[in-house]
Each structure stands twice: as structure tokens, then as C-alpha cells.
């Protein structure tokens, strides 16, 4: 009896998943393989290999990779320092670090447009100090800038969680056995935070790979990422079949990458945690 009622509790959730995740996916998959005249084709999916699309796809991977690496390089030391701090309110500091997450996403990107533009606040400030201005708006650098700013919290949180889970006496045990700081990092801390790192990479890389807002706003519409291509197929070109085909191709490639990452994670630790 009890089990029955518990199962009922999950019903709305299952309903939600079917309506908003599974059905749209099936719909997109169906669009992807239909040629618009009632027939079936794989051309829409293979269109990812057409030079225009492939170029956008490769650039997306590059920028997403750079963004992920920068996020990791920024987040990891911050979290390490946080652990060392001997204060009780570490949670508050983390909350401050992830505070921007609670602000509207599009607003934040527009804010960066204002800040980074050629006559923007940053350049006026640099001018006041007599420094040369930086012209990065409408370049890939500006896009990465915006992405790093937006996605950094998603790197910090999982790493923070996995680092805080390491009991202090394990670190002391390593010292006791003669390990210096670097050895402790390499053999203990890095290994034990790897699940968090992989979750962080997943949560930064995937949205960075698929987003089109950053390139729209900070790239000045001149830089085409795969997200932009797909968006335009759905909006301006109204070619839903091609848009769906590219989406499915993109999704497949991302899932493959994630599967590889998870596998490398499982080899180091028998624990698969998606955050």
C-alpha cells in the first residue's frame, strides 16, 4: 500500500518529463528524418558535415573548450583557497560567488555588452588611467568572456562540494606518511575532486557549446556558432527539418563526449555523480 502511494507521488513528475522532454525530443527526431514532402531522409542530420555548418560547429567546440578550461583554472584555485580559510561562513562566500546566477541571464549578457563595447565603461576607465583601450567586443574573445562569467558558478559548485567532502584526517594521514603539499594535491585532492571536476566540465561545456545568446549579443551577430545556425533555421529560414537534423547531430556528438568523460571518471573512482 505504502509503495503504491509513493509511486503516485511521482506521477506529476513523470507526466512533466513526458510532456516537456520526451515528446519534444520525439517531435524533433521526427522532423530531423523527414524531408518535408512526406518522405524520410538522413540528409538533415548529415548536414552537420557541410562546410558552413561544420565551420560553425568547430568554432563552437573551440570556444566552449576555451571557456571550460578558463572556468576550471579560475574555479579550482578559488575553491582550494576556500577550503584552507579557517572561517565558519564558507557557505556565505560561495553564495556571493554564485550570486550572479540569480540575475536574469540575458540581462547579464547585455551588461557585458555595455561594459566591453569600444566606448563602454571599461574603455572609458582605461582611458582615464591613460591606458590603451581594448577592442574585444564583437570578437570570439568577448563571447568567451561572457560565457566564462555566466558559467563559472557551475564549475565552482560541484568542485566545492567534492572538495569539502574530503575529511581533514585523510589529508593529515597523507602528511603523516611523508607526503608534501604537491603530492597530497596530486594523489589525494585531485583524485577525490575528479567527480566534481567532471560534473563542472559537463555543466559548463554543454551550455557553452549550444548557446547562441553570447554570439548574438557579444559577437555582434557576425560570428556564427552552431547554436546560431540552428536558431536561424528555426526562425529566419523556417527550415525546421534542417534545424532539427542539426540539433540531433549536435546532441549525439555531445552525448558521446559526455559518455567518454564519465567513463574516464569511473576508471578513477567507482562513483558517477552528475553534480
Amino acid at each position: 500500500m505504502k509503495r503504491m502511494s509513493r509511486k503516485h507521488l511521482a506521477t506529476p513528475y513523470v507526466f512533466w518529463i513526458i510532456c516537456f522532454t520526451i515528446l519534444p525530443l520525439i517531435y524533433i527526431a521526427w522532423y530531423a528524418v523527414s524531408d518535408g514532402d512526406g518522405g524520410y531522409t538522413v540528409e538533415n542530420i548529415l548536414a552537420i558535415f557541410e562546410p558552413v555548418h561544420w565551420k560553425a560547429f568547430v568554432l563552437s567546440i573551440e570556444l566552449a573548450l576555451i571557456c571550460t578550461v578558463v572556468c576550471l583554472l579560475l574555479a579550482y584555485p578559488v575553491v582550494l583557497i576556500l577550503r584552507r580559510l579557517k572561517i565558519k561562513k564558507k557557505g556565505t562566500i560561495v553564495a556571493v560567488l554564485i550570486l550572479p546566477m540569480w540575475m536574469n541571464f540575458i540581462l547579464r549578457v547585455y551588461a557585458w555588452q555595455v561594459l566591453l563595447s569600444d566606448n563602454g565603461i571599461i574603455n572609458s576607465f582605461l582611458g582615464m588611467l591613460g591606458l590603451p583601450s581594448i577592442n574585444i567586443i564583437n570578437t570570439p574573445a568577448a563571447i568567451v568572456f561572457g560565457m566564462v562569467y555566466d558559467f563559472l558558478p557551475f564549475m565552482i559548485l560541484p568542485i566545492y562540494n567534492s572538495l569539502m567532502e574530503i575529511p581533514n584526517d585523510i589529508i593529515e594521514a597523507a602528511k603523516d606518511l611523508g607526503a608534501d603539499g604537491f603530492t597530497i594535491f596530486r594523489k589525494i585532492i585531485w583524485k577525490l575532486t575528479l567527480p566534481g571536476v567532471i560534473s563542472g566540465i559537463t555543466m559548463v561545456f554543454v551550455p557553452a557549446m549550444t548557446s547562441f545568446v553570447f554570439s548574438d549579443i557579444l559577437g555582434g551577430g557576425k560570428i556564427q556558432l552552431i547554436g546560431n545556425v540552428i536558431e536561424q533555421e528555426f526562425t529566419t529560414s523556417m527550415n525546421w527539418q534542417l534545424g532539427s537534423g542539426l540539433s540531433i547531430a549536435l546532441m549525439t556528438i555531445i552525448l558521446l563526449i559526455m559518455a567518454l568523460l564519465q567513463k574516464s571518471n569511473q576508471q578513477t573512482k567507482g562513483n558517477n555523480m552528475i553534480w
Partner: protein, 362 residues
């Protein structure tokens, strides 16, 4: 130069302004099994952490082999620790855990392999090389933690309540195993426990601590037979603790009776604490002892009977091989040399101790 392997000289330590250790002095010789014994929160772990290098004392120094190592980092000391909560590396299997220290010391593969085999045999866990810590029971993890420490051949092995989490049977097995290990390896052990029985059976030397102060240092026999104050007497074994007054040399008064004893050198009419062990109280016919009383309670305890006798307004705890029925009138007698007389402890210290024991420490 002294032949002490380790000396703690005037160690004091405070946390958040609260004094935890006060002027602690301790000398440990090579090959000794030294036990730090005391109630929870008395500073045992803190003392051990200072020896291991994980905590710096506020004052005082740690001397190892005649060298001051107070400021030396833990990874540079020839001392290894078995932590209270095992602290095995969760992502490494048993073999990798044990090899950790040896790899850092850049020992050869052959050497490491031999050592792992030897250590696992020693702790009776051969065949466990590939197991992960989370697949082991508490006792097995504990033994791996011991194996991981001893393969480094430390001069001193620190053990912080290593058997605390084990059930009685396993604990007794491990106690004899540890003693065997110690004899086989010739390592100096510093052992922390709050279990007085464990301390009495295992140690060469016991350090009784209370509220950051060393109360008494001695062999198990010294500590049991000649406790230096009421705290030690009360903490070690069962005892009858009485208040009394020293009337003269070799004459003490308690429960309103004048009794002959063997202690001298107290002031005239000085108030004293008196300890009488339950097995030292003899039961005689009425009138042929120090005080008369009535048997209130009797329990069969295997080797002997444990009785409670109310006499002179005090409930005496008595161990005797002969049973006396409840309600029978008896007289109690104690031989002069079995009456332990000690300077009185500050009343407040005893009361505070009860508070400390009720608090829970991590």
C-alpha cells in the same frame, strides 16, 4: 644525555582561549608501550597531535632523539599515526593505501611488494590487496590503517583509540595482536584510550590525564595500587572513596572510627581522601572489624561475588569469594597497608570532571 626517545617539556596548549594542556612533561623510552588515559576531552588527542606535528604547542618543546622537533612538519618526522577514524584513502585499494608512504620514500617495487605482503600477514589480512576501504569492516579498516603505518618502520607509532569502534570480542583480539606486533617490531607505541581496562592490560607505562594535567605516571601496578589522588583512584578500577582526617602519623579517622594505617607525613588533623579497593575489604563476624554493617545486595560475577554493604553510613563495594546473604550482619576490616591515603583533591575539580564526562566530544 638522557636515554629518552621522546621528551615533552612543559607543553601548554589553548584553543580559543581555553587551556587544554598545562605544562605537560612526559618522557618516553625506546620500546615502551605508553598509554595516555583519561576521560573524554582531557587532551589525549591533542597531546598525540603535538607529538605527530599536527598541532604546535603554545609553549614547551618536543624533543626526539635529543633533537628539538617542535617546529618540524609532520611529513618530516619518523613518527606514524593510526588515526581515530582510520583515515584510509577511499580512492585507493588496500595495496595502494599501504604502499603510499613507501612510494613517497622512493622504495623499489620489489621492496614495496614484499612489505605489503609482510604487513598484511602481520595484521592477518592476506588476500585483501585489491579491496577498497569501503568494502571492509571497521576492524579490517583499522588493521589496514595499522599496516599502512608500520610498513614505514617509524620509531614511534601513535595510536588514537584504535579499538574504540570495535566490539568487545574483536577488541580483545586486537589488543593481544597489538602487543604481539609491538614485540615483533620493536617500535615505541604511544596509545590513547579512555578505557582503563585496556590501559592496564596493554601498557608498560600509563599516563593518567585529567583536564589537561598529568595526574600520575607509572606502571599499571603503581597506578592501580598506589593512586596518587582520588581522581586516579576513582578512574582506575572500582574503589571505595572515603573522606577522612589524619589524626597523627599512622592513625587516620574515617566514618567516625580511628584506624591504624601505614601513611606518615601528613599534617595533624589534615583532611584526606581514602581509597580502599573492593577486593581489600575483609568480611568478619560482627564486632571483629572496623565498622559493623548489613549486606544490602549481592551479585555473582563469575570469579567472585560483588556485594554492597552499608556500614558507618557508607555503601561499601566489596569483592569476596564467599557469599553472605542479603540482610546478614557483618563487620568490615581492612589491613593497614591496604588503606590508601591521599592529599585531598579540590572538590570543584571532581565536580567539573562529571560535567566533562557528560559532554560529548567528537
Amino acid at each position: 644525555m638522557s636515554d629518552n626517545l621522546l621528551e615533552l617539556r612543559g607543553i601548554s596548549k589553548a584553543f580559543d582561549g581555553k587551556t587544554i594542556l598545562q605544562e605537560l612533561d612526559l618522557n618516553i623510552k625506546s620500546n615502551e608501550f605508553v598509554t595516555l588515559l583519561g576521560p573524554s576531552g582531557c587532551g589525549k588527542t591533542t597531546t598525540l597531535r603535538i607529538v605527530g606535528g599536527f598541532e604546535k604547542p603554545d609553549t614547551g618543546s618536543v624533543i626526539f632523539n635529543g633533537e628539538d622537533i617542535t617546529a618540524l612538519a609532520p611529513e618530516k618526522r619518523h613518527i606514524n599515526t593510526v588515526f581515530q577514524k582510520y583515515a584510509l584513502f577511499p580512492h585507493m585499494n588496500v595495496e595502494e593505501n599501504i604502499a603510499f608512504g613507501l612510494k613517497i620514500k622512493k622504495k623499489s617495487k620489489e621492496y614495496i611488494k614484499d612489505k605489503i605482503k609482510y604487513a598484511l600477514k602481520l595484521v592477518d589480512l592476506d588476500g585483501f590487496e585489491k579491496r577498497k576501504p569501503n568494502s571492509l569492516s571497521g576492524g579490517q579498516q583499522q588493521r589496514i590503517a595499522i599496516a599502512r603505518a608500520i610498513v614505514n618502520e617509524p620509531e614511534i607509532l601513535l595510536l588514537d583509540e584504535p579499538l574504540g569502534a570495535l566490539d568487545l570480542k574483536l577488541r580483545q583480539d586486537m589488543q593481544s595482536e597489538l602487543i604481539r606486533l609491538k614485540n615483533e617490531l620493536g617500535i615505541t607505541f604511544i596509545y590513547v584510550t579512555h578505557d582503563q581496562e585496556e590501559a592496564l592490560t596493554m601498557s608498560d607505562k600509563i599516563v593518567v590525564m585529567h583536564r589537561g594535567l598529568v595526574q600520575q605516571i607509572g606502571t599499571p601496578k603503581d597506578i592501580y595500587d598506589e593512586p596518587c589522588n582520588a581522581f586516579v583512584a576513582d578512574f582506575i578500577g572500582d574503589s571505595n572513596l572515603l573522606k577522612g582526617k589524619m589524626l597523627d602519623d599512622r592513625l587516620v579517622e574515617f566514618l567516625g572510627e580511628r584506624v591504624i594505617c601505614v601513611d606518615e607525613g601528613f599534617g595533624k588533623n589534615e583532611p584526606v581522601d581514602i581509597v580502599i579497593r573492593p577486593e581489600d575489604v575483609e568480611i568478619n563476624e560482627v564486632g571483629k572489624g572496623i565498622v559493623n554493617g548489613v549486606v544490602k545486595n549481592i551479585l555473582y560475577k563469575g570469579a567472585n561475588y560483588e556485594m554492597t554493604v552499608e556500614a558507618g553510613g557508607f555503601d561499601w563495594l566489596i569483592h569476596n569469594t564467599v557469599a553472605y546473604p542479603v540482610g546478614s550482619m557483618v563487620s568490615l576490616y581492612v589491613k593497614p597497608f591496604n588503606i590508601q591515603i591521599m592529599k585531598q583533591m579540590d572538590e570543584s575539580e571532581m565536580i567539573l570532571d562529571e560535567d566533562m564526562e557528560n559532554e560529548t566530544y567528537e
